[in-house]
């Protein structure tokens, strides 16, 4: 096959076929269009204000590594005026997170950004290794998910940032939409919209957004490969099958047959967003009585899970039945280990939206 010429510069050899458009382009043009599309996502959604302090949720994996690189590039090229930070959560998983954190530490040097690492151990007094030794491998992802979400917000508060950006890409978002289709089947449409929202925020909480919302996974990986970026990839030892979920496989097969499928699915998820925003506004928000974090109940999920762990009834935080059993044992003891009280940097009252994730 004769080498093809780039469809954009009509000069260099094409190295990549874009999944979104089928266009065949060279390496330099690819960098430019990929970065420009992320820039367009950022400006069209008005994600940032000059002077914003922005934390990049960094795991050492491909998405957040590319995000850090692209955010640095765009901040300089277009003069966003952002102060960028790397924020990593150390779940305390030996042989997994300790290795990926080494990657993040190298990124800190390579991108010259301040790095904050906040550990589950520091925040909750429990590593994931210790939690798994208590709860086994059945519900450990519930603990990890709840703890990570709160840890990111708390790490961001410690950094006094205005905004957290995460590396969720178009494939991730389309996958969530697909998984939520079963909620629609059950008539539970209300949860669908949030997952496609590019930015979720309450009035005075730390905003979260996804600058890669429209970026295909293939292009993120190709960007990392062509730029020789240093990233870490392995399976979490506690959920080795997570990445092989049915929805992901189904999505990749759809994409192989019709590359626009991913964007089409995201758009179909967005169609529900307006309705969801109305609902979010109506939801009465409160904060956790014990730790001050946003919560829709007296106690936030993390405090409930932590109390169960501390009282030797680890599963109490997972089901309502478990919670009742815990309550029957009497009130929480005074010396119970708790999460430090949460304050957002501005000191404003917390009016937050709890998002389905």
């Amino acid at each position: 096959m004769a080498p093809r010429t780039c469809a954009l510069c009509e000069n260099a050899k094409a190295m990549l076929k874009r999944p979104k458009t089928g266009q065949q382009i060279c390496r330099e043009c690819f960098f430019y269009v990929f970065e420009t599309e992320v820039h367009n996502t950022i400006t069209q959604s008005k994600l940032f204000q000059p002077g914003d302090r922005v934390a990049i949720g960094a795991s050492g994996g491909k998405d957040s590594t590319v995000l850090a690189r692209v955010m640095k590039t765009l901040n300089e090229r277009y003069d966003y005026g952002l102060e960028l930070f790397l924020l990593s959560i150390d779940e305390g998983i030996t042989g997994y997170r300790d290795d990926s954190l080494e990657t993040v530490k190298r990124n800190q040097q390579q991108y010259d950004m301040p790095l904050k690492i906040l550990s589950y151990d520091e925040l909750y007094g429990w590593t994931m290794d210790a939690i798994v030794s208590q709860v086994g491998r059945k519900n450990n992802c519930t603990f990890c998910g709840v703890f990570r979400r709160q840890a990111l917000d708390r790490g961001a508060a410690m950094l006094h940032v205005d905004h957290i950006v995460t590396g969720h890409n178009a494939d991730d978002i389309a996958e969530t939409v697909l998984m939520n289709i079963k909620l629609v089947m059950r008539g539970d449409i209300a949860r669908l919209g949030r997952c496609t929202a590019i930015c979720t925020q309450g009035e005075d909480t730390i905003r979260r957004s996804k600058p890669f919302k429209y970026a295909y996974e293939k292009e993120i990986v190709m960007y990392a490969y062509f730029k020789k970026l240093d990233y870490f990839s392995t399976e979490c030892i506690y959920s080795p099958d997570a990445y092989r979920g049915h929805a992901r496989v189904f999505l990749k097969e759809l994409e192989a047959a019709r590359p626009s499928a991913i964007i089409d699915i995201i758009h179909s998820g967005e169609a529900f967003e307006v309705r969801e925003e109305v609902k979010a506004m109506q939801r009465v928000q409160q904060t956790c009585k014990r730790c001050g974090y946003m919560s829709s109940n007296d106690l936030c999920k993390a405090c409930t899970l932590l109390e169960g762990l501390e009282r030797g009834m680890a599963n109490a935080g997972i089901t309502d039945r478990g919670r009742k059993q815990l309550d029957l044992q009497g009130p929480a003891p005074d010396n119970l280990r708790t999460i430090p009280f949460f304050k957002i940097p501005s000191g404003n009252p917390i009016i937050a939206i709890e998002t389905a994730s």
Partner: protein, 104 residues
């Protein structure tokens, strides 16, 4: 038998299926004995599956090609521009397989 030698690299977590070794030099016949046609990339994929793959075959090959979600590069070019499995291998080629399915 005339053979060719190609450099094969696995990354993005795919190396875990291949003895956790990223880089391999693979020597294969220059023609496919079954069809007498020049060895192509699909022949190489089958060769890797049959000779180098240590575990979980389904995570590498599916429907006679690499599983969706695995990117393939031929001398740093997206294999979709090179005819995918029909690409005829040349001695000294560098073939890279990258999984996109591992966490970010």
């Amino acid at each position: 038998m005339i053979t060719i030698s190609v450099k094969v690299e696995f990354s993005g977590g795919l190396e875990l299926l291949f003895s956790n070794q990223r880089s391999h030099t693979v020597t294969i016949p220059s023609t496919d004995p079954a069809t007498s046609k020049p060895t192509n990339l699909q022949n190489l994929i089958f060769h890797l599956r049959d000779n180098l793959l240590k575990e979980r075959v389904g995570l590498f090959v599916e429907n006679d090609t690499v599983r969706p979600g695995i990117l393939v590069l031929v001398n740093d070019t997206d294999w979709e521009l090179e005819g995918e499995g029909d690409y005829v291998l040349k001695d000294g080629d560098e073939i890279v397989f990258i999984s996109t399915l591992h966490g970010g």
